[in-house]
């Protein structure tokens, strides 16, 4: 690791008192990253960018937004119509939330595929799940703020889930609402918390990165870094690669933002909240649909709530459920198939969540819920009888074998990491 050097006296003066320049140098410039990271590894930096986008656009929105049941909806329309580029801020924020979830879900599946939750990265994994939970809470409360029909009824349905808690359920719900229904006090506290939680997120993201840089990145081969020949400095290699990913993802984001900004939302949310009119279908935002399907697949209310929370909390025990010593699915023939089936199950659950809870949809969501948990239930056994394929002796050896020698032909390096 090359030491931080500078000739600037100002930088030296500051550095002596607060070693911030060497810190940045250590973590963003010379930080040794495995040389074989593929494009699945872009989604972490993308999630970071999305958090910044949400905070910046959110702060601008908050300058014009009024958290009051009589004015909230109007103030959002004021943002859309009268504030300079208010429409841009608002659509960026609303679609940005969806983009954030797309990125984070892919990031999580990447971790599942390459076994990134295994020792020594369990704490890193836990911090990731905490980030997911905080994001969900933030997005849920944010969706209430425009005070449309879906805001109001979504909030009513979801907060009511807490009434399933035995004995104290109803008191808990009253406490959450700050009254006897979702009303102005609810809107006020949701705004307060919606503003707060993203900053808590920043803190957890820092811990997440701290854990990452302490034990270093996993990689598509899932084998440890054995020495400097296995790594490359973060800058310029991964800075350009992340920049490329960001640009391509930017195109995807922009397509939604500028050409179909309401495609991911519900038309009902353009109707002002009305406690006396219940919409025909109350559906949460798409990123909650798989969990919503699990909730509704259990006939008992308390059971459904427990299953829904279990679907996330089971991720905390994953490092111990998976008994295989091999990390990457690349070398685990059975796990690899299970992984893809699990992805399909999650998509099917999402589809069920968007459908009314009746007839065939209930049956499909019950089967899918069973399979969701079966994935975790089977993992310990797979680890015992699966025969992993032989692991390469080192990252460097695998990269060299799959493409280049010391003098690499043009493009060989790119090919090597694309193959993953």
């Amino acid at each position: 690791m090359s030491e931080f050097q500078t000739n600037s006296r100002v930088i030296k003066w500051i550095e002596y008192r607060l070693p911030i320049f060497s810190y940045v140098n250590e973590h963003l410039v010379v930080y040794p990253a495995p040389k074989n990271l593929n494009y699945a590894y872009n989604f972490g930096s993308l999630a970071g960018v999305m958090l910044v986008v949400q905070i910046v656009t959110g702060i601008v929105l908050a300058m014009h937004y009024t958290p009051h049941v009589d004015y909230a909806f109007d103030s959002v329309e004021h943002i859309m119509r009268d504030v300079n580029y208010g429409w841009l801020m608002r659509y960026m924020h609303a679609n940005g939330a969806s983009m954030f979830f797309i990125v984070v879900y892919i990031h999580i599946f990447r971790g599942l595929y390459y076994g990134s939750y295994k020792s020594p990265r369990e704490v890193l994994w836990f911090l990731g799940i905490i980030i997911l939970l905080l994001m969900m809470a933030t997005a849920f409360m944010g969706y209430v703020l425009p005070w449309g029909q879906m805001s109001f009824w979504g909030a009513t349905v979801i907060t009511n889930l807490f009434s399933a808690i035995p004995l104290i359920g109803d008191s808990v719900v009253t406490w959450l609402w700050g009254g006897f229904s979702v009303d102005n006090p609810t809107l006020n506290r949701f705004f307060s918390l919606h503003y707060l939680l993203p900053f808590v997120l920043i803190g957890v993201v820092f811990l997440h990165l701290w854990a990452l840089h302490h034990r270093k990145s996993n990689n598509p081969l899932g084998i440890d870094i054995k020495g400097p020949q296995d790594t490359i400095p973060f800058h310029p290699y991964y800075t350009v690669k992340d920049a490329l990913g960001l640009a391509v993802f930017g195109v995807f984001f922009a397509l939604f933002l500028f050409f179909m900004p309401n495609a991911l939302g519900e038309p009902d949310n353009y109707i002002k909240a009305d406690p006396l009119v219940t919409p025909a279908h109350i559906v949460p935002e798409w990123y909650f649909l798989p969990f919503y399907a699990i909730l509704r697949s259990i006939p008992d209310k308390l059971g459904g709530v427990i299953a829904m929370f279990a679907a996330i909390f089971v991720l905390f025990v994953l490092p111990w459920l998976d008994t295989s010593r091999v990390r990457s699915a690349t070398f685990r023939p059975i796990y690899k198939q299970m992984f893809w089936l699990f992805v399909i199950v999650c998509l099917v659950l999402g589809w069920c969540g968007a459908k009314p809870a009746e007839g065939i949809y209930i049956i499909v969501s019950r089967v899918a819920t069973f399979l969701y948990f079966a994935f975790f239930g089977l993992l310990p056994f797979i680890g015992w009888f699966e025969r992993p394929r032989p692991l390469p002796e080192s990252i460097n050896a695998a990269v060299l074998k799959s493409g280049g020698g010391g003098a690499m032909p043009e493009g060989a390096a790119a090919k090597a990491e694309e193959r993953g």
Binding site: W87, A243, V251, I344, W351, A407, M408, G411
Partner: protein
Amino acid sequence: MRGIGKLVVALSIGLGLAGAAAATPAQAAGEARSPLSRDWPHAGPFGTFDRASVQRGMMVYREVCAACHGLEYIAFRNLLEIGLSEDEAKVIAAEYEITDGPDELGDMFERPGKLSDYYPSPFPNDNAARAANGGALPPDLSLVVKARLGGENYIYSLLVGYEDPPAGVELGDTQHYNPYFAGGAISMAPPLFADMVEYPDGTSATVEQMAYDVTNFLTWTAEPKLEARKQLGVKVIIFLVLFSILMYAVKRKVWAGLH
């Protein structure tokens, strides 16, 4: 297991499409007929409002719909955005009576509308609106295009879609049959009849034409920044695509030197 990977991609696309397709007509509650689709001038990445049609639509709103429906998010000054001159907009504003005050004596008073005023609601409150409409509330139209599945196609279909009720459908006294409306029984009488407005530009005022024009107008009221959004979008996409290509080249170059 490339195969399974591909399957997942195919499945997600399939599910997405199925979801989108299923969401459109089915969710509009059970039996509603799926809306007709028309080519809208503001559709597509380069779409812009057809100003002449939007202005005709404003006439339809003013002479027909405004009797029952408000337009609470539109101020008369906004009419300049669809090509009216300041004087024309002032004339339209002055047609409406606006309650203002209190004056020095503490009394409210009526005065003609100004550019800074918003379209006043035709009824003093929701109960009055219901009482005048057989118990049904005529919704404010400012956002209605974005507030219904099917958007402009739905609004257009609703306006041209009135039919005689099929056998077996019971309608209340103030209800009419419209297959595009969820449930079929709507409390709005067919609002449009041929030649009920006289277009100054000579366009023939058929029901379809008026429905088309007023839908264009209501799309503008729902999404007044549509043109700015699409124009900026095209520029941003072009920039990001070029930037991606550049980054791709830079990345190839940087990584080529790696051993």
